[in-house]
Symmetry: C2
Subunit: 475 residues, 2 copies
């Protein structure tokens, strides 16, 4: 019999091509500083270089790798460049990428414990490890911190957006078990991530059901304004049910006062969720554990190792103090998923902890990262980013042409040229067009503000120095 | 200065360790048939072999790989074994795993075109390719099939569950732009995937807002029952808005009559979504394009290359005929994401096409798969799975002790021993305990029914033969 078209790749060829891809990535890491950080392509440039229709016949792997180099790479913005200071980082590391490769390669589904027990058990274990690693409340551990059968627990989600959606859904379930959403009201600050609004809308609440509470001059939620808003809503017969506090806002890493917000939530029986998407990783450093203040009084919490803990996207850690509302909101059990282990209640079935049913073995990469670095390694690198950021703050403060525009509790500096929006826009555009670094902006006090976040895995002092030199030279 | 604890992995070490992981996976693929397909571990077995706390100091990579072999592998159910016939497949392939490795390694974010243009443009292109590859309606192409600026388009989501959620949200937005959900009613069949119920609940509708329409003796939705339900709801003043039809139900691959359902939807202005999670891939084979019947009249459609198109999880392709309702439902634009390309309307920003904000470069793996196999290769392998399934049906029909329990349009056989539920449970348990194959069950006509799905990448005739021999021997 003749060979069929489009052979499967044999293990031998997988080995050979796998080496090539590993080599390509290793070379990419060696050379990443040579590429313009922000891709300079114009809309349509990438697509225009590729065929408009799929190939009828198999194509050689070499051709794909050539197109990767020729077409794809110029269209990539290099999030893994040490000169990437834009948005929040999506940092990564060798052990994480290899852990993810193992996940892809094993190709198991972890929707139920029974569909691949190690996928669930390693995830539960690693999420418990993270509680210890960051000094999070013991109640977030699956065993309550005492080896028992705790009410809380953690799960890996794809993103903080999705985790916050699950928090909204769990809160909604607790507040309105009968499904009547009339009058429900959620609260977050004016500086909260856009996903809070998106999540509240997804959950079926009208735009008017989300109150954006005003902030103080550090851009942190004012708890007395929250309390006033909640009281006004209650007085009007509405039903406050959910507060999302942010630890480290996207705009400026403002830190909402979680303990004071928890006072309000406890007084009124509101679900309190904390979104610490980037900032949460800071807690690996003991002297930065102010980011954990009040977490022992919240209902749910999330942060993203895929932002600042050297674990490639996607890896959000989502914790609940009591899993029952979450599972109550999301559990649906069809016959074809029934199995003895689940029926016995002896296992966790993570499909009930998030929106999708299918799930990959994401714990592997986080497990590899924690074991590769150890707690001391993670501490060292995160601490180093914060030190570099403080140095940068000193340089900005020493330059009369610039001002720091917001408190810098961690690794993001918001600053601006004193010459106004146009001057800042010119600096931003010139820096990004140079290819030497990538910055983004925000608006604070209605003024265009530059943001520089130090969090890429390989960012060292020399990169921050060069970035500042270039910014200052454009001033 | 002494070296810091927990070094980053250098490119050289990444190369060396990357080779090791590739070797480990290649060996895994060579040896996968030696492992029990369904993991035999008991709850807690995996965790009990690992430390309860994270390591303070870095650990050697060799130790992690040793634990992978010693602790993790025995706890894995081998979805990539050719003897895996359970649930639906989550098939994969070498080019896909390597494409996913490139995605992990490049570590870019594709939330906006501007955050990495190639990530968005390749995704749009590959999703357009898939329209051609499967013979889907041209209106699903981003250019409307005529190179213009089409209203439709595709996006990669993590799962059909999430895609269907987005369909519900887009439909809800179209039907209730003011956010008043009162009286909205959704419809699906009694055989639809559990995610439809989950998605409707997530969207804020009460359980009573989902009607499960009865099915005919092929387990396909009865369109006249749908019409009657819609009419009764309208007569009662309720607001029908959404229908989810299934092409290839999870239980038995029943195929809802999409054209007749589209008649009802058009008559009443309902959003019609088609969930073809596994079955959609069949359309790569021209003679199986009955799975596409009526798709030119639907509002949205999804199928999973991560089930039956050799692309590892997660990769769901979600198409809309008109993107405006989807984007209207999901778009929120904060200052820190504003950029010139988006403002100019010249680009697609996929963050508005799904729940999460962040997104990885998932198009790479699908691109590598399509180029590696070519259309003819994909056709060959999918066709082969269906042929093997038909052979199996013949063997079952030739054995008096067994009966086929539902039509077999594609690659799933539902069958049972004539001896009743206990006999079937014994066969199921014995087969799964043998380690030689993995089957799951469903209930049809309230009788325990065995399911055998042929879709793993490396399943050949000998594997199906051996599976049947073992089943028959247990009868």
């Amino acid at each position: 019999m003749s060979e069929p078209p489009g052979f499967h790749m044999s293990p031998d060829e997988f080995r050979r091509r796998g080496y090539e891809v590993v080599d390509w990535l290793a070379r990419y890491y060696e050379e990443v500083e040579r590429y313009p950080v922000l891709s300079p392509v114009a809309p349509g440039d990438v697509r225009a270089q590729l065929p408009d229709s799929p190939p009828e016949h198999p194509e050689p792997f070499d051709d794909v790798m050539a197109d990767l180099e020729r077409v794809i790479l110029p269209g990539v913005t290099h999030w893994q460049s040490p000169n990437f200071f834009a948005y929040f980082p999506a940092n990564s590391s060798g052990p994480s990428v290899l852990g993810d490769l193992l996940s892809s390669g094993l190709g198991v589904q972890g929707m139920l414990w029974a569909t691949s027990p190690a996928c669930t058990e390693l995830e539960t274990l690693v999420l418990d490890w993270v509680v210890d690693l960051l000094g999070l409340p013991a109640g977030f551990r699956s065993d309550g911190g005492d080896g028992g059968d705790g009410a809380g627990g953690g799960v890996i989600q794809d993103s903080a957006s999705s985790a916050t959606l699950c928090a909204v859904l769990a809160a909604r379930h607790r507040a309105a078990p009968d499904g009547d959403l009339g009058g429900l009201v959620a609260y977050t600050s004016t500086q909260a991530h856009s996903s809070v609004e998106k999540d509240v809308r997804i959950a079926g609440l009208p735009a008017s059901a989300l109150r954006t509470v005003e902030v103080d001059d550090t851009f942190a939620m004012r708890p007395e304004a929250l309390a006033a808003a909640v009281e006004a809503d209650r007085a009007a017969g509405r039903r406050p049910f959910f507060v999302c506090a942010t630890v480290g806002t996207t705009s400026s890493t403002a830190i909402d006062p979680v303990p004071a917000i928890a006072d309000v939530c406890e007084r009124h029986g509101l679900w309190l969720h904390v979104d610490a998407a980037m900032a949460g990783s800071a807690a690996v450093v003991p002297e930065l554990r102010f980011v954990n203040d009040g977490l022992d009084r919240v209902d749910s919490y999330c942060f993203d190792p895929h932002k600042w803990l050297f674990t490639n996207f996607d890896c959000d850690c989502f914790y609940v103090a009591d899993r029952s509302a979450l599972i109550g909101a999301l559990s649906v059990l069809p016959e074809y998923l029934r199995n003895a282990a689940s029926e016995a209640g002896a296992v966790v079935d993570y499909r009930d902890w998030h929106v999708p049913l299918g799930r990959r073995f994401r714990a592997l990469k986080l497990w590899l990262v924690i074991r590769h670095y150890g707690a001391e390694g993670l501490r060292h690198h995160v601490r180093r980013h914060v030190e570099l950021t403080r140095e940068l703050v000193g340089w900005i403060e020493a330059d009369d042409r610039f001002e720091v525009a917001a408190p810098v509790p961690l690794n993001l500096v918001c600053f601006r040229h004193v010459g106004g929006d146009d001057a800042n826009q010119r600096i931003l555009d010139a820096c990004n067009a140079s290819g030497a670094l990538h910055l983004t902006h925000t608006r604070l006090d209605d003024r265009l503000t530059l943001r520089l976040c130090v969090g890429q895995t390989h960012t060292e002092r020399r990169h921050v120095e060069a970035a500042w030199a270039r910014i200052a030279a454009r001033a």
